[in-house]
Amino acid sequence: MHRLGGVGLAAFDRQQQSHRSFAELSSELSKAQVDHLQIQLTQFRSALTHFATTHREHIKKDPAFRHAFQRMCVSIGVDPLAGPRKGGWWAEMLGIGDWQYELGVQIVDVCVSTRERNGGIIEMSELVRMVSKLRGVESGVITEDDVVRSIKTLEPLGAGYEVINVGNGRKMVRSVVKELDEDQAIVLAEAALEGGVIVEGTLERKRGWTRERARAALENMLLRDGLCWVDEQDPVHGRSYWVPSAMRWEE
């Protein structure tokens, strides 16, 4: 009769041999699983990248879609705005941490939700105030600098957010893909000094504009861009223009 493995020193060697074989097989199996997982991860990542690139135009043009996309990213915790770990793939690409991403989402949130009333331009201090309120932190915790940096890191996503200097050290954030011409920037700056109201006469007197130039700039903002509102019951000037992004709103 032949005993499995036999007896003696040779049998001991043979047993060792089979142990090794099993160990090899087992590590091969787990390696296959890891590889499989890697492949799935790569596929997921490329699908996400594909989605981002194919819908880039849409994301850029349609604010509601953009908002929804960014929300989705946050809720599944994969991509740009709230990656689950530091130094992930998106973080490498964009170079910021989770905190900055979240701030970015909240900036988008405030810009989108106030767009109807301000035409897509919001004053920096107002934005900082509203973002702070959203985060439930006291004023001063979030600075203009944080907001500027967050907006910069949103750039690779093609969101089209931009910080504009309107003079006198005042900044505004634009969330619509629209060129703001020089005259409009001046109108914004002047309106900001007056609590949001602006009339042709102010631009003539303080900026030396002709009446036609002032009227053209204001009417364009009113009719073409929806960046200001008209008040036809102004007791002094008859017709005045109100720039909602420069008006002080108390909630």
Binding site: W229, V230, W242, E250
Partner: protein
């Protein structure tokens, strides 16, 4: 100057947009005006509900002293809504079934639907159940002007008629002609 909300003498909280002068001008930019119209509509509906006001007339914007002054005017900034603006707001509200011209075939006065006719139907039925008036004949005037104030006190007859129509359709009411006008008999829900 800051634009803030404001509580009127009747206890209604006006939104901050109501203290913005351009809110009282019809905006030439259609997108802006659509936004303003939505805000005005919401304001009119919530104020009507607050004061239990049923009728809004273009003339409420023409002469001061009416029930709607607190929202149609803002004395603090010296602005008021113009009749033509109010008229187009009424058109929009009627088109979206948030109001109905009354009498029909004119556009200067409307019933404001701060409750829809369906909601009024449910309110009427609930009131009849709560006060034990099922299966008895009630005239429209008894419902609109009951001796004990009810949620339906003051309801305009045309609106009441529409509400009753809904109850008839769902077999919860029957319209009955009575000596001094119309009446209705309400049944328990089947």
């Amino acid at each position: 100057m800051a634009l803030s909300s404001f509580t009127t003498p009747s206890g209604f909280l006006l939104p901050s947009i109501h203290s913005a002068p351009p809110f009282f001008t019809e905006q030439p930019n259609p997108r802006t005006q659509a936004q303003f119209t939505a805000q005005w509509t919401r304001l009119i509906l919530t104020y009507a509900r607050h004061r239990k006001l049923f009728m809004l007339r273009v003339e409420d914007a023409e002469v001061a002293g009416g029930d709607w002054d607190e929202i149609l005017r803002n004395e603090r900034i010296n602005r008021r809504i113009l009749p033509s603006h109010l008229s187009s707001l009424l058109d929009t509200m009627v088109a979206s079934e948030q109001a109905a011209f009354e009498p029909p075939k004119q556009s200067r006065a409307a019933i404001i639907y701060w409750r829809t006719p369906e909601e009024w139907a449910d309110a009427l039925h609930a009131w009849a159940v709560a006060t034990g008036q099922l299966n008895t004949i009630l005239t429209f005037y008894e419902i609109a002007d009951p001796p004990v104030p009810s949620p339906l006190s003051g309801i305009p007859i045309p609106l009441l008629r529409r509400a009753v129509t809904f109850l008839v359709k769902s077999n919860r009411a029957q319209i009955i002609s009575v000596a001094d006008g119309e009446g209705v008999r309400l049944f328990a829900a089947k």
